[in-house]
Amino acid sequence: MSSHRKSLIVVRRLLQAGPVIVLATLIVFALLKLVPGDVAVTLAGDNASDARIAEIRHLYGLDRPFIVQYAAWLWRAAHGDLSASLISREPVLISILRCFPHTLLIVALALAMAITVGIPLGVAAAARAGARIDGAVMTVASLGVAVPNFWLGMLLVTLFALDLNWLPATGAVALGESVRGAFIHAFLPACALAAGGIAEVTRQLRASLVEILSSPQVRTLHMKGLSPAKIMWRHGLKNVSVNLLTVIGLLFNRMLAATVVVEAVFAIPGMGSLIVNAAIHRDFPVVQGVVFAMVMVVVLLNLATDILYTVLDPRIA
């Protein structure tokens, strides 16, 4: 029965992905057309005549109506063809496959930090709610939420890369080249990205745990003679796991978006850099391809979260 329910969730989520992809790419496409600038001018090069620019515009179909251009892109994308960059002629899929691992590594590392640091902090604060350690943790967490990640990124670079020379300041190494190198390069950007995440996980976890710990069901656990450690780690965490999962899911989405800025600070050739460069040159197939890929990732992640909910909470099924 529950496996039937789970496949229903999968189907429903995947069906939802379609409209979301169309809407997201349409909005981004429209924005690209609204802002001034023309890819044909870039392609024609310096000192090109108006006739040459018009010729190129016609060649790439850029003189066709907006909606026709979009429909043509969508039609090809639906058939698995994300087109090629107008400027470099590189297939968009290849660009994405080259850039995405860099972004994913940073986000995954940042998320892992947020979870492994945020959970113990949240538990410590909740276990002594109202005490001094709680106040200290919450003050630091409030700071973490408030600090902008690009500013923190620049601070980290100044301190650990430029002054102490412990870690590289910028750039990235592909996992395929050197696993160690990839992690070393990803560490600082992940830290910059993780600070807000750690704070978020800590605050949300503390709030849900404090609520659970004062509930009648926990009074029953005390009545049974269980130790506070067992109540916290076995019952407390399992009861708030659904909330925690929601926070982590949203955090992943937010981190994916925030890499655009962090990648710029650390000069990492990830998805953020790819979409920013493409947008500057109105290279719309690349922009559309990146948006398409990001939406797919977010939809698949939400799907995974929904399935995990049913595992964590027997009441959801």
């Binding site: 109202g130 509930s215 005390h222 009545m223 049974k224 003679g225 130790s227 019952h235 399992k238 027997p314």
Partner: protein, 352 residues
């Protein structure tokens, strides 16, 4: 006014000290227990000078209106209230030890093993994300280190003993799969799995359907008898007390006002408040169209009248009722906190 003085409770040699420590085999001996909640505006006394003993095998009913302190009394015996925000005084002697002086670890060893408690609402008292078998087995494993398999078998046996059909299968159900009555049965199974000496049942049927209430009462009564578990039954249902308890303690506004054998108090209550409660009982009172009630309202915490706390609502009140009242001996087994106890005759519900 008591909040201002800070220590409303006299220490162990209080005026009612003579009622404590009667020579018999007591399982529980509560002496001059007072509890106040600490607030930013000073202490808020909740129960004051609570003194009673429970002998092994007894079934004591604690009755009174909502907010009279019966639940706080029960929770304090198990020390289940957040102690950082409490001011506690008095003693709770159980098995020769004062529970209020035990360490957290010693107290844990006692909870669920020697003293257990059942709560009012079984729906919120169970953990929704663990199976009932797991939760019952956990109560056993907390005190007797054993394998998961044995704990599960014990949980199944416990479920069977509280009358849950197909316990092998039900064991893997989650609380939301069960009805309210079934959940309270699970709660009872959990509380009794270590065969505690004392079981405190705090309004175990209030949240249940009327049709289920009688079954749960019957089950509790039967199991406590079979396991020789002493029972403290906190309720506002005097009918249940009359049915299953041997003794009745009446509480009013945080104090014990009367403590007597059930048969005795039902016939001749000695405190006007107890008499008022009995009078307003639909089942036991004569069936008339309008049910008698006690006029007035319970005084608010922190705004208790000096002297007898029931005096503003009492039709027998005299000037001397404004002086502090003590819980004093009326007869060997009957104690009452009323200065006029020997002067007035009050109607009970059972006429001999």
């Amino acid at each position: 006014m008591e909040a201002a003085t800070g220590h409303a409770a006299p220490m162990t040699t209080g005026p009612s000290g003579q009622t404590c420590g009667i020579a018999r085999t007591e399982l529980l001996d509560v002496r001059s227990l007072s509890v106040a909640f600490r607030t930013p505006h000073g202490d808020l006394p909740v129960i004051r000078d609570i003194c009673f003993t429970v002998a092994a095998g007894e079934r004591v009913g604690i009755v009174g209106e909502s907010g009279c302190g019966k639940t706080v009394t029960g929770l304090t015996v198990l020390r289940l209230l957040p102690e950082r925000s409490l001011r506690l005084s008095g003693r709770i002697i159980f098995g020769g030890r004062d529970l209020l002086t035990l360490s957290a670890r010693q107290m844990r060893a006692l909870r669920g093993c020697e003293i257990a408690m059942i709560f009012q609402d079984p729906t919120s008292a169970l953990d929704p994300v663990f199976t009932i078998g797991d939760q019952i087995g956990e109560a056993y494993r907390a005190h007797f280190p054993t394998t998961r398999k044995e704990a599960r078998e014990r949980a199944i046996a416990a479920l069977a003993s509280v009358g849950i059909p197909a316990p092998e299968r039900r064991c893997d159900d989650y609380p939301h799969h069960l009805s309210g009555g079934m959940r309270q049965r699970v709660m009872i199974a959990m509380a009794l799995i270590c065969e505690p000496k004392l079981l405190i049942a705090d309004e175990p049927t209030t949240a249940l359907d009327v049709t289920v209430q009688a079954q749960i009462i019957e089950l509790l009564s039967r199991l406590s008898e079979r396991m020789k578990t002493t029972l403290i039954f906190i309720t506002h249902d005097l009918g249940v007390v009359a049915e299953i308890c041997t003794r009745m303690i009446t509480m009013y506004a945080g104090e014990i006002v009367e403590d007597a054998p059930v048969d005795d108090v039902l016939v001749t209550p000695r405190h006007p408040y107890t008499a008022g409660l009995l009078r307003s009982l639909p089942g036991l009172a004569a069936r008339r169209s309008a049910l008698p009630s006690i006029p007035g309202r319970v005084p608010q915490l922190g705004q208790m009248p000096k002297g007898c706390r029931f005096q503003p609502r009492c039709q027998h009140a005299l000037a001397r009722c404004a002086k502090p009242q003590t819980l004093s001996e009326f007869s060997a087994s009957h104690h009452v906190r009323c200065t006029r106890a020997r002067e007035i005759t009050l109607a009970g519900v059972v006429t001999v």
